[in-house]
C-alpha cells in the first residue's frame, strides 16, 4: 500500500493528474485479476480478454 500511495504522490508532484484515473482503473483490474485467480470468476475474466 505504501508504494501505491508513494506512486500517487509521485504523479501529483509531476503534475500528471490525468494519469490518476488510469492508474485507479488498473489497480481495480489488478485486484479483480488477483481475486479471480483460480476462482469461479476466472473464465469470465479471461473471456473478456
Amino acid at each position: 500500500m505504501d508504494t501505491l500511495i508513494e506512486f500517487f504522490h509521485f504523479l501529483t508532484q509531476r503534475k500528471k493528474y490525468w494519469l490518476w484515473p488510469l492508474f485507479i482503473i488498473l489497480l481495480m483490474l489488478g485486484l479483480v485479476l488477483v481475486a479471480a485467480h483460480g476462482s469461479v470468476l476466472a473464465p469470465f475474466i479471461y473471456s473478456l480478454f
Binding site: T3, L4, E6, F7, F10, L11, R14, K16, L19, L22, F23, L26, L27, L29, G30, L33, V34, F49
Partner: protein
C-alpha cells in the same frame, strides 16, 4: 569513509558494484554466477561476491543505490499506452500484471532481497535511486581521466531518455539536454537486430560484425522513411514503421513492405540482402552519431568526450567519432551497457549525494583495467581440477608464459585464466581464448570448433602497446577493445619494419577491434604476449572471450574447465597450471 553498493537489475544484464569512497573495490555481472546470459534477475551472487571481496558485511554498507527510477519508467509506460490507445491492448495486458505485482515494488523487492542476503540488514533502511541515463553518464565521466568533458549517453531507453548530453566538470555532472522515448538510436538499431533475426538487447554486436560483409545500399531508404535527422544530430523516428510502443515485436508489416522481405527467422540463411541491410543501419547510426558529436564539439568547445550506454559498445562508431567529431580525446566506459549502470549509480551517490572530492589521474582511468570480478587461488583451482580428475603440469613465472607461447606457436588454442574476471562484455586477457594470429585459417577454426558460432564473427588482437603504432597507426591507445583500428597489413612502413603479419585477427573489412596491452597496467598478459613475441617475432595474439556461443563468459575455474572439456580447445592454462588435452587422453 563510505561503502556504496550500486545495483542494476530487472531489465537485462544485472550487476553489482561496491565502491569505497571513489575507489571501485569490486564489480560483477550476475550472469557470470548464474550462467544465464544477460541475466536480469536480482544480482544476489554478484552482491555476495562484492561483499566477500571487500571482507565486509552488508550491514557495513553505508548506501545502496539502484540504477534507475521505476516510477518514472511506469509513468512512461502508462503515457505511451494512453497515447497509442486503443492500439497496444495486447502488450498493455501483458505488461501491467508484471508491473502491478512486481516491478512497481522494486524498492520493497530490493530491501527484501538484501535482507535475505544478510538478515541483519533492516528492510526500513533507505534505498536510493538515480536516473538510468545519469547512471550511464556517471559511469562514463567519473572513472575517466578527464577533469572536464562532454558526456554523451545513448541506448535503447531508460525511464524516458534515450540520449542525454551532460557536462562533467570535476565532481559535477550537469544534464544539458536529452532526447526522449520513442525516438531512440538504440531502439532503431535494435529494430534492425530483430528484423535480421537476432536477439534484441543482446545480439546487436552481431549486426555490427555482419555489416562489414554488405554494402549500405538501403541508407537512402532508411533516411527517407524511418528517421529524420536534424542538422545538430537530433532525430525523430517515424513510428509508422515500428511496433515497439504498442506491440510485442520491434517492427511491423509496413517495415517488411518497405524492405520487401519479412523479418528473418533465427535459423534462416543470411542473404546478401541481410548483409546489405546490416551495413546500411550501421552506416546510418554512424552518421547520426558523427553529426551529434560534431555539433556537441562546436556547441560546448570542450576537448574531451565520454561515452556510455549500449550504443557506445559499437566500436566502429566509436572510431568514427574519434576520427570525425573534432574531440581530441574520447573515453568509453568498458561496461557501457546496463551492467555499468550499477557502477555509475554508485559513483553518482559518492559525488552528488555525499559531495565527494574527485582526484583525477590524467595518465590512467579509474577502472583498474576493468578487472574487477572474482579471482581464485591456485589451491582452489587444484581442488576443482581434482573433482574433474584432470592432471596438470605446474610452471611458474617466465617458464609458464614461455610454455604457453610455445603451444601458441604450434597452432594450439589456449584457454587462458588468470586473476580477476573482467567486468563488461569484453575478455581482456583474464578469461580469454588465445590463438596464433599469423594464421588466417585460425578464424574459421575458432568459430567452428571452439566458439560454435556464426562464420562471419570477427576476432580481435591483443597487442603489446609498444607495437600498436606499427600495426595500426598512431590512433588513440585503447585497452578495452572499444575502438576499431585500420590494420596496416602490407603497408610500406609495415613491410619496411619486417613486421610479422596477423591476418587471423583482422576482420573482412581490414579493421580490428584492438586491445592494447600495457606493461604497467596489465603485467601478466603483457609478459605472456612478450614471450610469444620473443619466440615468433609476432607481438600480438588472438584474444576472444572464454565461452561458447550464447553462454556468458567463464568466471570460475569450473566454468573454464567445462568450456575446455566441451570444445576443441587444446590447452587450459589456469593460474600457473597447464592441462594438455592430448596428454590426458581426451
Amino acid at each position: 569513509m563510505s561503502y556504496i553498493l550500486g545495483i542494476s537489475a530487472y531489465y537485462h544484464d544485472s550487476a553489482a558494484c561496491l565502491l569505497k569512497d571513489a575507489e571501485i573495490i569490486a564489480a560483477a555481472q550476475e550472469e557470470r554466477f548464474s550462467r544465464i546470459k544477460n541475466d536480469e534477475s536480482f544480482p544476489t551472487e554478484a552482491i555476495k561476491f562484492c561483499l566477500k571481496f571487500a571482507n565486509i558485511s552488508l550491514a557495513e554498507v553505508d548506501h545502496v543505490v539502484f540504477y534507475e527510477k521505476p516510477f518514472l519508467k511506469f509513468e512512461r509506460l502508462l503515457e505511451t499506452y494512453v497515447h497509442f490507445a486503443p492500439r497496444g491492448l495486447k502488450s498493455f495486458l501483458k505488461a501491467m500484471p508484471i508491473w502491478l505485482t512486481d516491478k512497481l515494488f522494486i524498492k520493497k523487492n530490493i530491501a527484501k532481497a538484501l535482507n535475505t542476503i544478510d538478515p541483519t540488514w533492516e528492510k526500513s533502511r533507505p534505498i536510493l535511486f538515480t536516473d538510468h541515463h545519469h547512471a550511464h553518464a556517471a559511469s562514463a565521466f567519473y572513472p575517466s581521466p578527464f577533469e572536464q568533458a562532454v558526456v554523451l549517453t545513448v541506448d535503447g531507453v531508460g525511464e524516458w531518455a534515450t540520449t542525454t548530453v551532460s557536462i562533467g566538470n570535476s565532481a559535477q555532472l550537469t544534464l544539458k539536454k536529452e532526447i526522449n522515448f520513442p525516438n531512440s538510436i538504440g531502439l532503431l538499431y535494435s529494430a534492425f537486430t530483430y528484423y535480421l533475426g537476432f536477439k534484441v538487447n543482446s545480439d546487436e554486436y552481431k549486426v555490427m560484425g555482419l555489416a562489414s560483409y554488405g554494402k549500405p545500399i538501403y541508407k537512402a531508404l532508411i533516411y527517407d522513411h524511418l528517421i529524420h535527422v536534424k542538422a545538430d544530430g537530433s532525430f525523430l523516428l517515424n513510428m509508422d514503421y515500428f511496433d515497439y510502443c504498442t506491440g510485442l515485436s520491434m517492427t511491423n508489416k509496413k517495415f517488411d513492405k518497405l524492405f520487401g522481405h519479412p523479418a528473418r527467422a533465427k535459423d534462416e540463411e543470411l542473404l546478401v540482402f541481410h548483409k546489405d541491410l546490416a551495413s546500411s543501419i550501421q552506416k546510418v547510426t554512424e552518421e547520426i552519431m558523427i553529426k551529434l558529436t560534431q555539433s556537441l564539439y562546436k556547441e560546448f568547445g570542450i576537448e574531451n568526450l565520454c561515452l556510455a550506454g549500449g550504443v557506445a559498445l559499437n566500436c566502429i562508431i566509436n572510431s568514427s567519432i574519434r576520427q570525425h567529431s573534432g574531440f581530441k580525446r574520447i573515453w568509453v566506459q568498458p561496461a557501457a551497457g546496463d551492467a555499468g549502470g550499477a557502477l555509475g549509480a554508485a559513483f553518482s551517490i559518492y559525488y552528488a549525494h555525499l559531495s565527494g572530492v574527485r582526484n583525477i589521474n590524467l595518465q590512467a582511468d579509474g577502472m583498474k583495467q576493468s578487472l574487477l570480478g572474482p579471482c581464485y587461488s591456485q589451491h582452489e583451482v587444484i581442488k576443482t581440477l581434482r573433482v574433474y580428475g584432470l592432471n596438470y603440469e605446474k610452471a611458474e613465472g617466465d617458464l609458464y608464459h614461455r610454455k604457453i607461447a610455445a603451444y601458441l606457436n604450434e597452432g594450439k588454442v589456449i584457454a587462458y585464466f588468470k586473476g580477476r574476471t573482467e567486468f563488461g562484455p569484453r575478455a581482456l586477457g583474464c578469461r580469454s581464448i588465445l590463438a596464433d594470429p599469423r594464421k588466417s585459417e585460425m578464424k574459421a577454426i575458432l568459430n567452428a570448433k571452439i566458439k560454435f558460432r556464426e562464420s562471419f564473427r570477427p576476432f580481435a588482437p591483443a597487442i603489446l602497446e609498444e607495437f600498436a603504432d606499427l600495426y595500426f597507426g598512431t590512433g588513440a591507445k585503447n585497452r578495452y577493445m572499444l575502438f576499431t583500428e585500420r590494420y596496416l597489413g602490407d603497408h610500406n612502413r609495415h613491410q619496411a619494419n619486417h613486421a610479422v603479419l596477423i591476418p587471423g585477427a583482422v576482420h573482412v573489412d581490414g579493421t580490428a577491434r584492438v586491445q592494447m596491452v600495457n606493461e604497467a597496467y596489465h603485467p601478466d598478459f603483457h609478459q605472456l604476449i612478450t614471450a610469444f613475441y620473443k619466440l615468433t617475432g609476432c607481438p600480438a595474439v588472438i584474444n576472444t572471450s572464454l565461452n561458447v556461443m550464447n553462454e556468458p563468459m567463464a568466471s570460475s575455474p569450473e566454468d573454464a574447465i567445462c568450456c575446455f572439456l566441451n570444445t576443441e580447445i587444446d590447452i587450459l592454462a589456469i593460474e600457473g597450471l597447464l592441462i594438455d588435452k592430448k596428454r590426458i587422453g581426451l
